[in-house]
């Protein structure tokens, strides 16, 4: 399953990413980063497809997206 990593120290809690995630997998957490912003997090209910839309719209480059490499056998078919 693909996933994102939020560099929490960079996030400003603007939540633009939550408006573009097709799986609605992003939500505001209750955690504050050192700058006092409530950072975003991936919620548990939905699955990240690695589409990277969230990273595309993030103004602060706070999201790195990891896409699952199809295992060798899957790419062969």
């Amino acid at each position: 399953m693909s996933r994102i990593f939020v560099h929490e120290e960079r996030c400003k809690g603007c939540l633009l990413c939550t408006t573009v995630c097709p799986e609605e997998a992003l939500e505001q957490s209750e955690r504050f980063n050192p700058n006092g912003f409530k950072v975003v997090q991936q919620n548990q209910q939905s699955e990240c497809t690695g589409c990277a839309f969230c990273a595309e719209i993030c103004p602060d480059y706070a999201i790195t997206v990891f896409r699952k490499k199809k295992s060798a056998q899957e790419t062969a078919t």
């Binding site: 939540l15 595309e56 719209i57 993030c58 480059y61």
Partner: protein
Amino acid sequence: MSSQPQAEERVAFALPLTMSGASTHFCPGCHHGIIHRLMGECLEQNGLGESAICVGSVGCSVFIYNYIDVDAVEAPHGRAPAVATGVKRALPDRFVFGYQGDGDLAAIGFSEIMHCANRGEDVTIIFVNNTVFGMTGGQMAPTTLLGQNTTTSPKGRDMDKDGAPLNMSELIASLDGTAYSSRVAVNTIKNIKQAKKALKKAYRAQNQKQGFSFIEFLSACPTNWKMTPLQANEHVGTTLMQRFPLGVFRDTVE
């Protein structure tokens, strides 16, 4: 959950190498950061990082040189198109781009931008329109919407006193020296993809020496619009675009 790729994982999205990676000073939800990344990406994909020279302006936009890692020079307020002209005439084979806000370009710098375009200088000007003077605290700008409250139009911009907002992309598109002029936005993924195409076209116009290229980015300014980042992002799509429609207004690029 690690910040590094694990087994079977590859990084699907990373910051272009032309970016410094420094976290930005912009307000939460400000679109400058998105625009910078698109420009950095386009520079990297066109292999322009090593030949690019950035001309910064005065306003929130000035700190672009902290985030895009290329040779850069600061222009006095409003004068980036003239400085860019000088840079391009001095180094015709370098990729020269200016980055200006609406106060810088459409108010004090109106003469410079129009004449730079009219001369058909082979430079690219990125124009960020957020309808206010941002850095100085949200005063009225030439692109402030009718009725829009700012710190210097407390009762809303008044047509009789302050005139109507200036549509720069259309004005610049009317000049023969302009090879490409379009208006884009970064408030949705679709618009971001469109904006990337516009940047590519503008960069090609310059590289093929076909004349002046210009892209206006509509941009949110939550702080000075007194909105949340989500409301401001919404506002770009609903209200701004009524006065400032997206589109390509001139394209003679082969």
